[in-house]
Structures are given as structure tokens and as C-alpha cells.
């Protein structure tokens, strides 16, 4: 089973964000593998261990994303593909997915995995768009994958505590729900082995994807506080009495 995992590199969780127009200043911050994608990578590695085949880590972005591809290789991916684009963060979801789809078309694969969404843009559309662009069936928010007789039985998370089993043929695209598995750490042996693994680079402009976008982020900003907090003070009994007044006559919920 040959699997391509789409992995994004995003600003580190604790990175201080300095806003610059419609993006952030990248100069002094660290980057890391998008956490939701790490669950997709782990799932790919587990499927490979069970069914054989190859895991390819696909990432798009500037030169720095090679570090994230290397991390995937150290964890057990067999090779990497880097779609190089210094201005990657300006792409809209469709432009981004179209570029990834063009790179995936060059490969022979049975399954494409993505994480649920990215921790930076948070568009959460890549997997579904890839399915549309590659004309493959898809499923999202997947909590379990069983492969049998050339098709998959999938556990899909719905809202409000509901789940659903579904069948999906291969090849397909799946968006993996965070928390589906416990992700592994790279071992020292894995890190050493990764040095010998191949990362092929494809300049994004060579993929022939149209450059007009469907949407544009005009600016980003720190959200203005919309609420004015009224603090209630006193002894616990007084606070309770004041709060009940508020809930009864202002919020009108009791």
C-alpha cells in the first residue's frame, strides 16, 4: 500500500506572533510539524507496518519545510517530496490543494492522508479539495482505518458524540482526526537512517497550476475584546447572591 501524507510546517505553538500585514514576521520564530498532520503521518506508518508499501511525506513551502520532511523521514517515512514555494502562505485553499494534487498525480499511490486542519491558517479544506481535484472518494475526521480486500472500513466522527462506520474503496483521500493514535518519537536510529533518504524538490511554478486565487486574506489582527467583564466581589454567599441576580434579571437564564 503506497501512501502519501500531506504535512504542513507551521509556526511553533509557543512562538510569539508578530503580525505583518496578512501574515506574520517569520524571522525570529521556530517552526514545527503541524500537530494534526503528525497523526496522519503516524496512521500512514502504522498502515505500512501492517500492509507493506511505502510512505511518502509531501510538504509545500519555503526551504525550511525540509526540516519537517526530515522529521517525517526520521519517524519512518521512506522518502520526501518538497514542493518549493517561498510565498506559499499567500495561497488560498484551492491554490494550495491544486499544487499538492499536481505533485500527487506524478506518483502512484493508493491512499492520500491529511491532518484535519493546520494550526496556522486553519482552513481545514486540503483533504476534501484533493479528493475533488484527483477525482477520488474521500472521508474526513477519521478515527479508525481497517483495510480489507482492496477497500477500507472507516470509523468517522460525527458531532455530538456520534460516530459512523463507512466503506470506502481505494484509492482514496482521508482526513485524519487528531487523537486517532499516539504518535511516535523519532529514534536516534531513525534520525541516522533519514540522512540517507531521498527528498525530491519540485518548484511549485513548474507544476503549471493557475495562480489566480478565489479568496484573499486582507489583514490579520489581534481580535478586539468584545465583552466588558463585570467582576463580582464579596464573601462567597454575597457573590452567589449577586450572580443569581445577574443570571435572573440580566442574562435571564434562571
Amino acid at each position: 500500500m503506497n501512501i502519501i501524507v500531506c504535512i504542513k510546517q507551521v509556526p511553533a505553538k509557543d512562538a510569539p506572533l508578530a503580525i505583518a500585514g496578512n501574515w506574520i514576521k517569520e524571522a525570529d520564530i521556530g517552526f514545527e510539524m503541524n500537530e494534526p498532520d503528525s497523526f496522519a503521518l503516524e496512521e500512514a506508518l502504522r498502515l505500512k507496518e501492517k500492509h507493506g508499501g511505502e510512505v511518502v511525506a509531501l510538504s509545500m513551502g519555503p526551504e525550511r519545510v525540509k526540516q519537517t520532511i526530515k522529521e517525517a523521514l526520521a519517524k519512518g517515512a521512506d522518502r520526501g517530496i518538497h514542493v518549493a514555494d517561498e510565498n506559499f502562505h499567500q495561497l488560498d485553499p484551492l491554490g494550495s490543494a491544486s499544487s499538492l494534487a499536481a505533485a500527487i498525480r506524478k506518483e502512484k499511490c493508493d491512499l492520500v492522508l491529511t491532518g484535519l486542519q493546520s494550526d496556522d491558517h486553519g482552513f481545514g479544506q486540503t483533504g476534501v479539495l484533493l479528493a475533488g481535484l484527483l477525482d477520488l472518494p474521500h472521508a474526513t475526521i477519521i478515527m479508525q482505518i481497517e483495510v480489507q480486500d482492496g477497500k477500507m472500513r472507516l470509523k468517522r466522527e460525527l458531532e455530538a458524540g456520534w460516530f459512523q462506520w463507512m466503506e470506502c474503496p481505494l484509492p482514496a483521500v482521508l482526513s485524519i482526526q487528531s487523537g486517532i493514535n499516539k504518535v511516535r518519537y523519532a529514534t536516534l536510529k531513525g534520525i541516522m537512517a533519514a540522512k540517507k533518504k531521498e527528498i525530491s524538490t519540485i518548484p511549485r511554478e513548474s507544476l503549471g497550476v493557475a495562480s489566480e486565487t478565489t479568496q484573499r486574506v486582507e489583514r490579520i489582527y489581534v481580535p478586539t475584546k468584545s465583552k466588558k467583564t463585570e467582576f463580582l466581589t464579596g464573601a462567597p454567599k454575597e457573590i452567589a447572591a449577586k450572580l443569581v441576580e445577574k443570571l435572573k434579571f440580566e442574562a435571564r437564564v434562571i
Binding site: D120, F123, Q215, V217, T233, I254
Partner: protein, 329 residues
């Protein structure tokens, strides 16, 4: 401008976020002199279409087909593409549900269009619609505009608009028209199987009007009973931030936040919750937020209407008693 709202139902029951999105559409329509068409898709849903017709909309589109129940992404994309092509809306609005996330980006792409997903607001800047969504997990907001020609697709996060503000039809009922679509079994490649819940007494927190949520400040599982007593007195549901569910103190289905449920109750009472963004994205749409925390700098206070800096173990029992007394009297 013509706005098409695609509502959501499952097995004849509304996803209530549909009405929030309808409220959003009515708001945009008022500001831009637009008309609103509401659509509902499925099987045996004429009654739901009738319910939509009672709202202030120009038309209701009933998209009935045997193959639209149960939901499949393929079925919905094929059907709704035809509906969009024949209704020719400028703007297609959807609630940002798990189901919409599963098909809407592909639907838009099949028409060569893009979707601005998970919006928390929209404004009319001199005739240009500016959609507001979050980036960096809520640490920043972003103003996003469409490029290129209509139709444009956008989805609204749960809690972004108020369902109770949906305007009724001014003179009775809007016309309900059946949307003619063709859909064959061969176009649906996935096969949905049984729906199930992991836990027996699963609860739909999105429908709860009052939620009492606990965070790390609850300290130990034996203290949860105090919060439950308060929830019971208020007639609400108990919920928690992620760490509490990761510890197994409450089931995962009661988790609020980016990896749990997104709720917008009338009252959200946060007990010992610091207000990390992963939690806040799941509850910031709540009508009234009360936060009780011993740390006066806890970010939860930034979105609280009423704040108490103090010990939850002193305030919980006092508040339970006061609520019971208020309800009795």
C-alpha cells in the same frame, strides 16, 4: 444579490446551526438588499421545508432524493452542484458543521470556486463583503474577501449568529419549490454504514441551553460532584476542558474546545478553566459567560460577562444553594 442558505438535517432533525446561518443570511440580505433562498436536502423532509417557509425567505428549495439519505459527500456534491447551477446564487452560505466540512470545499471546487470556511462574522464594507475568520487557533482574526466571479461559498462557525434572531415570514409562508436533480447510485463511491454512540448516555451539548464546565481547577475527580450539583440546580449539562477528559474524569463527549464540541448556550459557567484558546474556540459564542477562577489574569476573563476571582470550592456550594433558593421562590 441572491443568497442561498444550505441548511442541515439528519434523519429529519435539524442541525440548529442551520438557523444561525439563516440569521447570517438575513442580516447580509438586509444590508445589501439581497434575497434569501433556503434549501434543505434529504429524503422525506417536506415538513422541514415547510418549517423553513415560515421564515423570512423568498423561496425554499426542497432537494428530495432517495440517495440523499443517508448523507454521502459524493451524493451531496452531485446534487448541490446542480442546485447551485440552476438557482444561480451569488453567495452560498452553510453552517460550519462536520458534514459541511466533509463536502462543501469540494462542491465549491467542482464549480471552480473557493470557500471561506469557519467564519465568525461578516461585514459590508461599502458594498464589499468582508468575512472574518480566525487564524493561528484564535490568536488572530483575519479579514478575508472573495476574488473572482460568483458564486462565492462561505460557512459560519457555530455561535457566530443567533438562531433566535431568524426573522419569520412577513405574510405567512414562502413558496416551497422542488429542486429537480439527477443522482444515480454509481455516482456515490462510499457506503455509509451504521451510526452509533460510544457511550450509552451520550449527550448533545450543542443543544444544551446551560453548560457548567470544569477545568484543571477542579483538582480531583471527587470534586466533580460539586460542579454537577450546581449544573443540576441550574438545569444544565456538565462539560469540561480537554485535560479533564484526557484524565478520564469525564467522558470525551463532554469535552468543549477545538478537539471537542463547539457550543453556544445561553449560559456558560466556567469553573477553574484558564481559557486556553483551544477551549475558548469551543464556547466563545455563548450568550452569557460567567468565569470563576483564582487567577485574576486567566484569559477566560477576557470573554467573560461576569467574573469572580476566587476559590471555586467556596463559591460552587454557595451558588448552588442560591440558585435552588431562587428557583424555589
Amino acid at each position: 444579490m441572491k443568497i442561498l442558505v444550505v441548511t442541515e438535517q439528519r434523519q429529519g432533525k435539524w442541525n440548529n446551526t442551520s438557523f444561525e446561518t439563516l440569521a447570517a443570511a438575513q442580516t447580509i440580505a438586509r444590508e445589501t438588499s439581497s434575497s434569501v433562498v433556503a434549501a434543505v436536502a434529504g429524503k422525506g423532509i417536506a415538513a422541514l421545508a415547510g418549517e423553513l417557509a415560515g421564515k423570512n425567505v423568498a423561496e425554499v428549495l426542497l432537494i428530495e432524493h432517495d440517495l440523499l439519505e443517508p448523507y454521502t459527500a459524493d451524493g451531496f456534491c452531485v446534487a448541490l452542484k446542480q442546485v447551485v447551477e440552476s438557482a444561480k446564487p451569488d453567495l452560498v452560505l452553510l453552517p460550519h458543521t462536520y458534514q459541511v466540512r466533509d463536502f462543501a470545499p469540494k462542491l465549491a471546487a467542482s464549480l471552480g470556486k473557493g470557500m471561506i470556511g469557519d467564519c465568525i462574522g461578516v461585514r459590508n464594507d461599502a458594498g464589499k463583503l468582508v468575512f472574518v475568520r480566525q487564524m493561528f487557533q484564535g490568536k488572530t482574526a483575519a479579514d478575508v474577501v472573495f476574488q473572482g466571479a460568483a458564486p462565492w461559498f462561505a460557512s459560519f462557525q457555530s455561535g457566530a449568529f443567533r438562531a433566535d434572531l431568524v426573522a419569520p415570514h412577513p405574510s405567512g409562508q414562502a413558496p416551497v419549490n422542488k429542486a429537480g436533480i439527477s443522482l444515480s447510485p454509481g455516482q456515490i463511491r462510499t457506503k455509509p454504514l451504521e451510526l452509533f454512540r460510544e457511550a450509552k448516555q451520550a449527550v448533545d451539548l450543542t443543544q444544551a441551553p446551560i453548560i457548567v464546565a470544569i477545568g484543571r481547577g477542579i483538582k480531583a475527580p471527587e470534586n466533580i460532584a460539586q460542579a454537577e450539583a450546581l449544573a443540576k440546580a441550574l438545569g444544565g449539562e456538565i462539560a469540561a476542558s480537554r485535560p479533564i477528559c484526557d484524565e478520564g474524569w469525564l467522558p470525551m463527549e463532554r469535552q468543549i474546545g477545538s478537539s471537542g464540541q463547539t457550543v453556544a448556550p445561553k449560559l456558560y459557567l466556567a469553573l477553574g478553566i484558564s481559557g486556553a484558546i483551544q477551549h475558548v474556540v469551543g464556547m466563545k459564542g455563548s450568550r452569557t459567560v460567567v468565569a470563576i477562577n483564582k487567577d485574576q489574569n486567566a484569559p477566560i476573563f477576557e470573554i467573560a460577562d461576569y467574573g469572580v476571582v476566587g476559590d471555586i470550592f467556596e463559591i460552587m456550594p454557595a451558588l448552588t444553594e442560591a440558585v435552588e433558593k431562587a428557583k424555589a421562590g
